[in-house]
């Protein structure tokens, strides 16, 4: 669990910002409930960004689901390292988050499931507690754009992208996604260009790795 504490602190800080940004759109209780039951920075910030920009709930949900599609790939990689009953396999599966999954990889294609849980626990605590603090502090901050808080969204996505887009195909997928979003934004309701940008992943997957 000690290995997870630095991740927990980073997640805590991100969660405070999520709470601050979510407060004007979702109120006090909903962001906290969302952090407890969804527990995913990319999906929560992505769907919140679409709601904030005036997009519909359907587009917000779809963007969140597509952003979390990577969990399908991570779960598939993890599955052979899990043994035991359905309940225990499910519990380990639910404990999957990016940093823990990566930290628990033993380098030979297998994973240490208990190690992964240990790294996840501080992150879960940091995420929920940080959201509570962000929601409570958020109302006292004044005008968000005077403080540059609207730049938090794109800066977070840049940071997540910087971690994620390693390798030629991912860079092509990112470039294509950015281009599609840029071209379509003037012609579609908010949220939809981001969904269409997922087609860049299909195109990039045809490339040789």
């Amino acid at each position: 669990m000690r290995r997870g504490i630095p991740f927990g602190l980073a997640v805590f800080a991100t969660a405070i910002s999520f709470g601050v940004l979510a407060r004007p759109v979702m109120g006090v209780v909903a962001p906290i409930v969302m952090s407890i039951v969804v527990f995913s920075g990319a999906a929560q910030l992505g769907s919140l960004a679409i709601l904030t920009a005036g997009g519909g709930i359907g587009a917000a949900i779809a963007a969140g689901v597509l952003l979390n599609a990577r969990y399908l790939a991570m779960g598939l990689a993890l599955a052979p390292s899990l043994s035991g009953r359905v309940v225990s396999r499910a519990a380990f599966g639910m404990a999957t988050v990016d940093a823990s999954w990566a930290a628990a990889s033993t380098g030979d294609g297998r994973f240490d499931p208990w190690y992964m849980v240990g790294v996840t626990v501080p992150q879960y605590v940091g995420w929920v507690v940080g959201t509570v603090i962000g929601v409570l502090v958020g109302s006292s901050l004044g005008n968000p754009s005077t403080l540059g808080l609207d730049a938090l969204f794109p800066a977070f996505f840049v940071a997540l992208l910087y971690e994620e887009a390693r390798g030629r195909r991912k860079v092509v997928a990112a470039g294509g996604g950015a281009g599609i979003a840029l071209v379509l934004t003037p012609f579609m309701p908010p949220g939809l260009p981001i969904l269409v940008a997922s087609l860049a992943a299909v195109v990039a997957s045809r490339m040789r790795p």
Partner: protein, 96 residues
């Protein structure tokens, strides 16, 4: 929205460990899944930096995002890069 996202995330996390039991998906599907986050995150960067409803605009946010990108490439911790982006954006609005 919250319930739908919670359920969908749980399903995505559980399909591998529970249903497939180590059986692989078709390689084409795995490749697309692996690239999805990159494509969407890049699209979100563009829309959140330049988007203003249905139009594109260049304002102080872009400066903040550039600062964040430079900070990240200089190995700054992500949270420092993000805070710097907000600070630079706020400063640019105050000065300009």
């Amino acid at each position: 929205m919250i319930i739908a996202l919670a359920l969908a995330t749980a399903v995505l996390k559980l399909i591998g460990p529970l249903l497939l039991g180590g059986r692989p998906l078709p390689s084409g599907a795995v490749a697309v899944i692996g690239l999805m986050a990159s494509a969407l995150l890049a699209a979100l960067v563009v829309v959140e930096t330049f988007g203003k409803g249905r139009s594109l605009t260049l304002d102080a946010r872009a400066l903040g995002v550039v600062v964040a990108a430079v900070a990240l490439s200089r190995r700054a911790p992500p949270i420092a890069a993000v805070v710097a982006a907000a600070a630079v954006t706020a400063l640019a609005r105050a000065v300009l």
